[in-house]
Protein backbone atom coordinates (compact mmCIF):
# COMPACT_ATOMS: atom_id res chain seq x y z
CA UNK A 1 0.00 0.00 0.00
CA UNK A 2 1.41 3.38 -1.00
CA UNK A 3 1.80 6.28 1.43
CA UNK A 4 -1.06 8.06 -0.38
CA UNK A 5 -3.44 5.11 0.13
CA UNK A 6 -2.43 4.66 3.77
CA UNK A 7 -2.98 8.32 4.57
CA UNK A 8 -6.26 8.40 2.62
CA UNK A 9 -7.60 5.71 4.93
CA UNK A 10 -6.68 7.83 7.95
CA UNK A 11 -8.30 11.08 6.84
CA UNK A 12 -11.74 10.49 8.32
CA UNK A 13 -10.22 9.59 11.68
CA UNK A 14 -7.94 12.61 11.48
CA UNK A 15 -11.02 14.80 11.13
CA UNK A 16 -12.58 12.98 14.08
CA UNK A 17 -9.51 13.89 16.14
CA UNK A 18 -8.73 10.34 17.21
CA UNK A 19 -5.36 9.64 15.59
CA UNK A 20 -2.23 8.98 17.62
CA UNK A 21 0.41 11.77 17.52
CA UNK A 22 2.50 9.72 15.07
CA UNK A 23 -0.42 9.11 12.71
CA UNK A 24 -1.38 12.77 12.96
CA UNK A 25 2.15 13.86 11.98
CA UNK A 26 2.11 11.41 9.08
CA UNK A 27 -1.19 12.81 7.77
CA UNK A 28 -0.05 16.42 8.15
CA UNK A 29 3.23 15.71 6.33
CA UNK A 30 1.37 14.05 3.45
CA UNK A 31 -1.42 16.63 2.98
CA UNK A 32 1.24 19.32 2.95
CA UNK A 33 2.26 18.24 -0.55
CA UNK A 34 -0.81 16.23 -1.73
CA UNK A 35 -3.59 18.56 -2.86
CA UNK A 36 -6.13 15.71 -3.27
CA UNK A 37 -5.70 14.53 0.29
CA UNK A 38 -5.78 18.14 1.49
CA UNK A 39 -9.20 18.60 -0.13
CA UNK A 40 -10.41 15.27 1.18
CA UNK A 41 -9.34 16.17 4.69
CA UNK A 42 -11.20 19.47 4.41
CA UNK A 43 -14.40 17.63 3.46
CA UNK A 44 -14.00 15.14 6.31
CA UNK A 45 -13.53 18.05 8.71
CA UNK A 46 -16.72 19.59 7.38
CA UNK A 47 -18.61 16.32 7.91
CA UNK A 48 -17.17 16.00 11.43
CA UNK A 49 -18.11 19.58 12.28
CA UNK A 50 -21.66 19.00 11.03
CA UNK A 51 -22.04 15.84 13.10
CA UNK A 52 -20.89 17.77 16.18
CA UNK A 53 -23.43 20.49 15.44
CA UNK A 54 -26.29 18.18 14.43
CA UNK A 55 -29.38 19.33 16.26
CA UNK A 56 -31.07 17.12 18.80
CA UNK A 57 -34.45 17.37 20.40
CA UNK A 58 -34.64 19.05 23.78
CA UNK A 59 -35.38 17.13 26.96
CA UNK A 60 -39.18 16.79 27.32
CA UNK A 61 -40.83 18.93 30.02
CA UNK A 62 -41.10 17.18 33.36
CA UNK A 63 -38.73 14.34 32.45
CA UNK A 64 -36.77 14.74 35.68
CA UNK A 65 -39.92 14.74 37.82
CA UNK A 66 -41.38 11.69 36.05
CA UNK A 67 -38.09 9.82 36.40
CA UNK A 68 -37.86 10.61 40.11
CA UNK A 69 -41.48 9.57 40.58
CA UNK A 70 -40.82 6.20 38.93
CA UNK A 71 -37.60 5.79 40.89
CA UNK A 72 -39.33 6.52 44.19
CA UNK A 73 -42.16 4.13 43.32
CA UNK A 74 -39.84 1.27 42.33
CA UNK A 75 -37.59 1.92 45.33
CA UNK A 76 -40.68 1.78 47.59
CA UNK A 77 -41.69 -1.57 46.09
CA UNK A 78 -38.16 -2.85 46.46
CA UNK A 79 -38.08 -1.77 50.10
CA UNK A 80 -41.45 -3.44 50.67
CA UNK A 81 -40.21 -6.63 49.04
CA UNK A 82 -37.13 -6.64 51.30
CA UNK A 83 -39.35 -6.13 54.37
CA UNK A 84 -41.60 -8.96 53.18
CA UNK A 85 -38.62 -11.30 52.81
CA UNK A 86 -37.44 -10.42 56.32
CA UNK A 87 -40.92 -11.04 57.78
CA UNK A 88 -41.15 -14.38 55.99
CA UNK A 89 -37.73 -15.48 57.26
CA UNK A 90 -38.62 -14.42 60.80
CA UNK A 91 -41.94 -16.28 60.76
CA UNK A 92 -40.31 -19.45 59.46
CA UNK A 93 -37.69 -19.31 62.19
CA UNK A 94 -40.33 -18.53 64.77
CA UNK A 95 -42.47 -21.51 63.77
CA UNK A 96 -39.49 -23.89 63.93
CA UNK A 97 -38.67 -22.55 67.40
CA UNK A 98 -42.27 -22.97 68.53
CA UNK A 99 -42.21 -26.52 67.15
CA UNK A 100 -39.03 -27.35 69.04
CA UNK A 101 -40.28 -25.84 72.31
CA UNK A 102 -43.64 -27.60 71.97
CA UNK A 103 -41.88 -30.94 71.49
CA UNK A 104 -39.64 -30.35 74.53
CA UNK A 105 -42.64 -29.33 76.67
CA UNK A 106 -44.65 -32.32 75.46
CA UNK A 107 -41.81 -34.72 76.30
CA UNK A 108 -41.25 -33.08 79.64
CA UNK A 109 -44.88 -33.28 80.71
CA UNK A 110 -45.48 -36.76 79.27
CA UNK A 111 -42.40 -38.63 80.54
CA UNK A 112 -40.54 -36.33 82.90
CA UNK A 113 -36.91 -35.11 82.56
CA UNK A 114 -35.64 -38.64 81.83
CA UNK A 115 -37.74 -38.78 78.64
CA UNK A 116 -35.77 -35.82 77.24
CA UNK A 117 -32.53 -37.76 77.49
CA UNK A 118 -33.86 -40.83 75.67
CA UNK A 119 -36.02 -39.74 72.71
CA UNK A 120 -38.07 -42.46 71.05
CA UNK A 121 -38.48 -42.89 67.30
CA UNK A 122 -42.21 -42.19 67.53
CA UNK A 123 -41.67 -39.02 69.54
CA UNK A 124 -39.02 -37.72 67.12
CA UNK A 125 -41.23 -38.41 64.12
CA UNK A 126 -44.11 -36.67 65.85
CA UNK A 127 -41.94 -33.62 66.50
CA UNK A 128 -40.79 -33.51 62.85
CA UNK A 129 -44.39 -33.76 61.66
CA UNK A 130 -45.73 -31.10 64.02
CA UNK A 131 -42.91 -28.57 63.46
CA UNK A 132 -43.03 -29.05 59.67
CA UNK A 133 -46.80 -28.56 59.68
CA UNK A 134 -46.43 -25.41 61.77
CA UNK A 135 -43.71 -24.03 59.51
CA UNK A 136 -45.77 -24.69 56.35
CA UNK A 137 -48.88 -23.14 57.84
CA UNK A 138 -46.95 -20.03 58.87
CA UNK A 139 -45.25 -19.73 55.48
CA UNK A 140 -48.61 -20.14 53.73
CA UNK A 141 -50.20 -17.44 55.87
CA UNK A 142 -47.23 -15.11 55.30
CA UNK A 143 -47.36 -15.73 51.53
CA UNK A 144 -51.07 -14.86 51.44
CA UNK A 145 -50.47 -11.64 53.41
CA UNK A 146 -47.51 -10.64 51.20
CA UNK A 147 -49.37 -11.34 47.96
CA UNK A 148 -52.23 -9.10 49.16
CA UNK A 149 -49.73 -6.35 49.94
CA UNK A 150 -48.01 -6.75 46.55
CA UNK A 151 -51.36 -6.61 44.75
CA UNK A 152 -52.20 -3.42 46.60
CA UNK A 153 -48.85 -1.79 45.81
CA UNK A 154 -48.62 -2.76 42.10
CA UNK A 155 -46.10 -4.98 40.36
CA UNK A 156 -42.36 -4.95 40.83
CA UNK A 157 -40.94 -3.28 37.71
CA UNK A 158 -37.29 -4.25 37.57
CA UNK A 159 -37.38 -7.98 37.13
Amino acid sequence: MSEHETVSALLSLAAAGVLSPDEERRVQAHVHHCADCGRELAVWRLVAAEVSRAKTEAVPDGLLERTLQRLTHVEGLRQESRTGDAILAFLMLFSWTVGAVTWLAFRLFAGGPSALASPTLRGTLMWIAVSTLLAWLTAGAAAVVLSFRARKGGTYELT
Partner: protein
Protein backbone atom coordinates in the same frame (compact mmCIF):
# COMPACT_ATOMS: atom_id res chain seq x y z
CA UNK B 1 -10.29 33.01 39.99
CA UNK B 2 -13.97 33.24 40.93
CA UNK B 3 -14.74 30.88 38.06
CA UNK B 4 -12.25 28.34 39.39
CA UNK B 5 -13.74 28.53 42.88
CA UNK B 6 -17.24 28.00 41.49
CA UNK B 7 -16.03 25.03 39.42
CA UNK B 8 -14.35 23.50 42.46
CA UNK B 9 -17.51 23.92 44.50
CA UNK B 10 -19.58 22.33 41.72
CA UNK B 11 -17.19 19.41 41.49
CA UNK B 12 -17.31 18.91 45.25
CA UNK B 13 -21.12 18.99 45.16
CA UNK B 14 -21.14 16.48 42.29
CA UNK B 15 -18.85 14.12 44.22
CA UNK B 16 -21.02 14.42 47.31
CA UNK B 17 -24.16 13.66 45.26
CA UNK B 18 -22.49 10.58 43.78
CA UNK B 19 -21.45 9.41 47.23
CA UNK B 20 -25.04 9.83 48.48
CA UNK B 21 -26.33 8.10 45.36
CA UNK B 22 -24.14 5.12 46.26
CA UNK B 23 -26.01 5.01 49.55
CA UNK B 24 -29.31 4.96 47.59
CA UNK B 25 -30.41 8.47 48.51
CA UNK B 26 -33.28 9.44 46.17
CA UNK B 27 -32.67 13.20 46.67
CA UNK B 28 -29.08 12.78 45.54
CA UNK B 29 -30.38 10.84 42.54
CA UNK B 30 -32.48 13.90 41.64
CA UNK B 31 -29.38 16.12 41.60
CA UNK B 32 -27.37 13.62 39.53
CA UNK B 33 -30.22 13.08 37.04
CA UNK B 34 -30.62 16.85 36.66
CA UNK B 35 -26.89 17.14 35.90
CA UNK B 36 -26.85 14.39 33.26
CA UNK B 37 -30.36 14.53 31.80
CA UNK B 38 -29.50 16.55 28.68
CA UNK B 39 -26.50 14.43 27.68
CA UNK B 40 -28.18 11.12 28.42
CA UNK B 41 -31.43 12.02 26.68
CA UNK B 42 -29.53 13.33 23.64
CA UNK B 43 -27.56 10.06 23.46
CA UNK B 44 -30.71 7.93 23.73
CA UNK B 45 -32.50 10.05 21.14
CA UNK B 46 -29.60 9.47 18.75
CA UNK B 47 -29.98 5.73 19.24
CA UNK B 48 -33.74 5.26 19.17
CA UNK B 49 -34.94 8.43 17.40
CA UNK B 50 -38.29 8.45 19.17
CA UNK B 51 -39.09 10.67 22.16
CA UNK B 52 -41.41 8.25 24.00
CA UNK B 53 -38.99 5.32 23.70
CA UNK B 54 -36.03 7.53 24.62
CA UNK B 55 -37.88 8.70 27.73
CA UNK B 56 -38.71 5.13 28.78
CA UNK B 57 -35.09 4.04 28.27
CA UNK B 58 -33.92 7.16 30.10
CA UNK B 59 -36.00 6.16 33.14
CA UNK B 60 -34.92 2.53 32.91
CA UNK B 61 -31.28 3.64 32.82
CA UNK B 62 -31.70 5.62 36.06
CA UNK B 63 -33.52 2.72 37.71
CA UNK B 64 -30.53 0.51 36.84
CA UNK B 65 -28.08 3.18 38.01
CA UNK B 66 -29.89 3.37 41.34
CA UNK B 67 -30.07 -0.41 41.62
CA UNK B 68 -26.33 -0.80 40.95
CA UNK B 69 -25.22 2.41 42.68
CA UNK B 70 -23.50 0.60 45.55
CA UNK B 71 -21.26 -1.26 43.07
CA UNK B 72 -20.09 1.97 41.36
CA UNK B 73 -16.34 2.47 41.79
CA UNK B 74 -15.70 6.20 42.46
CA UNK B 75 -12.18 5.93 41.03
CA UNK B 76 -13.78 5.38 37.60
CA UNK B 77 -15.49 8.06 35.54
CA UNK B 78 -19.19 8.29 36.35
CA UNK B 79 -19.94 9.41 32.78
CA UNK B 80 -18.46 6.23 31.34
CA UNK B 81 -20.30 4.07 33.87
CA UNK B 82 -23.60 5.83 33.18
CA UNK B 83 -23.28 5.54 29.40
CA UNK B 84 -22.30 1.87 29.69
CA UNK B 85 -25.53 1.21 31.58
CA UNK B 86 -27.53 3.24 29.05
CA UNK B 87 -25.88 1.32 26.18
CA UNK B 88 -26.85 -2.01 27.79
CA UNK B 89 -30.41 -0.81 28.41
CA UNK B 90 -30.72 0.09 24.70
CA UNK B 91 -29.28 -3.28 23.64
CA UNK B 92 -31.78 -5.10 25.89
CA UNK B 93 -34.57 -3.00 24.40
CA UNK B 94 -33.62 -3.92 20.84
CA UNK B 95 -33.03 -7.58 21.71
CA UNK B 96 -36.56 -7.74 23.10
CA UNK B 97 -37.87 -6.16 19.91
CA UNK B 98 -35.75 -8.02 17.37
CA UNK B 99 -32.92 -10.58 17.45
CA UNK B 100 -30.55 -8.33 15.45
CA UNK B 101 -27.75 -7.02 17.61
CA UNK B 102 -25.98 -3.68 17.43
CA UNK B 103 -22.94 -5.30 15.85
CA UNK B 104 -24.96 -6.86 13.07
CA UNK B 105 -26.64 -3.52 12.45
CA UNK B 106 -23.20 -2.00 11.99
CA UNK B 107 -21.87 -4.65 9.64
CA UNK B 108 -24.61 -4.95 7.10
CA UNK B 109 -24.26 -1.50 5.61
CA UNK B 110 -20.75 -0.88 4.35
CA UNK B 111 -19.87 2.38 2.67
CA UNK B 112 -19.27 2.55 -1.07
CA UNK B 113 -16.50 4.57 -2.73
CA UNK B 114 -17.04 8.31 -3.11
CA UNK B 115 -18.30 9.65 -6.40
CA UNK B 116 -19.12 13.31 -5.82
CA UNK B 117 -16.65 16.16 -5.78
CA UNK B 118 -15.82 17.86 -2.48
CA UNK B 119 -17.01 21.21 -3.85
CA UNK B 120 -20.56 20.01 -4.55
CA UNK B 121 -20.59 18.42 -1.15
CA UNK B 122 -19.60 21.62 0.56
CA UNK B 123 -22.19 23.62 -1.38
CA UNK B 124 -25.05 21.37 -0.34
CA UNK B 125 -23.97 21.31 3.27
CA UNK B 126 -23.89 25.08 3.27
CA UNK B 127 -27.44 25.31 1.94
CA UNK B 128 -29.46 22.93 4.09
CA UNK B 129 -26.99 21.46 6.45
CA UNK B 130 -28.66 21.21 9.82
CA UNK B 131 -31.80 19.36 8.75
CA UNK B 132 -29.94 17.36 6.12
CA UNK B 133 -27.30 16.05 8.51
CA UNK B 134 -29.83 15.33 11.27
CA UNK B 135 -32.07 13.36 8.90
CA UNK B 136 -29.15 11.49 7.35
CA UNK B 137 -27.80 10.60 10.79
CA UNK B 138 -31.16 9.11 11.72
CA UNK B 139 -30.94 6.77 8.73
CA UNK B 140 -27.60 5.26 9.78
CA UNK B 141 -27.43 1.84 11.46
CA UNK B 142 -27.62 2.16 15.23
CA UNK B 143 -24.05 1.07 15.89
CA UNK B 144 -22.83 3.93 13.70
CA UNK B 145 -25.17 6.51 15.24
CA UNK B 146 -23.96 5.44 18.65
CA UNK B 147 -20.24 5.72 17.96
CA UNK B 148 -20.74 9.10 16.27
CA UNK B 149 -22.81 10.38 19.20
CA UNK B 150 -20.23 9.28 21.76
CA UNK B 151 -17.36 10.83 19.82
CA UNK B 152 -18.88 14.04 18.50
CA UNK B 153 -21.66 14.90 20.94
CA UNK B 154 -20.22 13.47 24.14
CA UNK B 155 -16.63 14.23 23.13
CA UNK B 156 -15.39 10.88 24.45
CA UNK B 157 -11.94 9.51 23.66
CA UNK B 158 -11.62 6.20 21.83
CA UNK B 159 -10.65 4.43 25.06
CA UNK B 160 -13.78 5.70 26.82
CA UNK B 161 -15.98 4.66 23.90
CA UNK B 162 -14.39 1.20 23.96
CA UNK B 163 -15.26 0.89 27.67
CA UNK B 164 -18.85 2.06 27.17
CA UNK B 165 -19.45 -0.29 24.24
CA UNK B 166 -17.35 -3.13 25.72
CA UNK B 167 -15.49 -3.63 22.46
CA UNK B 168 -11.74 -3.53 21.62
CA UNK B 169 -10.10 -0.22 20.69
CA UNK B 170 -9.35 -1.21 17.05
CA UNK B 171 -13.04 -2.09 16.61
CA UNK B 172 -14.05 1.37 17.84
CA UNK B 173 -11.62 2.92 15.38
CA UNK B 174 -12.87 0.94 12.42
CA UNK B 175 -16.49 1.45 13.42
CA UNK B 176 -15.99 5.21 13.65
CA UNK B 177 -14.26 5.21 10.26
CA UNK B 178 -17.09 3.18 8.68
CA UNK B 179 -19.71 5.38 10.33
CA UNK B 180 -18.19 8.54 8.86
CA UNK B 181 -17.80 6.92 5.43
CA UNK B 182 -21.36 5.70 5.56
CA UNK B 183 -22.65 9.12 6.55
CA UNK B 184 -20.71 10.77 3.77
CA UNK B 185 -21.99 8.31 1.17
CA UNK B 186 -25.55 8.92 2.28
CA UNK B 187 -25.08 12.68 2.23
CA UNK B 188 -23.71 12.36 -1.29
CA UNK B 189 -26.75 10.36 -2.27
CA UNK B 190 -28.86 13.28 -1.17
CA UNK B 191 -26.70 15.66 -3.19
CA UNK B 192 -27.29 13.50 -6.27
CA UNK B 193 -31.05 13.56 -5.60
CA UNK B 194 -31.07 17.34 -5.15
CA UNK B 195 -28.93 18.06 -8.23
CA UNK B 196 -30.95 19.59 -11.13
CA UNK B 197 -31.31 17.20 -14.12
Amino acid sequence: MIGEAVMERNEAAAESDLERLRRRDVHAAGAVIARYQHRLFRYLMKLVGDTATAEDLFQQTWLKVFEKASSYDPSRSFDGWLFTIAHNVVIDHYRRRSPRSLDQAGRDDDAKPLAVSPDAFELLLERERSSLVATTLKGLPMAYREVLALRFQEDMKLEEIARVLSIPLPTVKSRLHRALENLRVRLQGRIEEARPQ
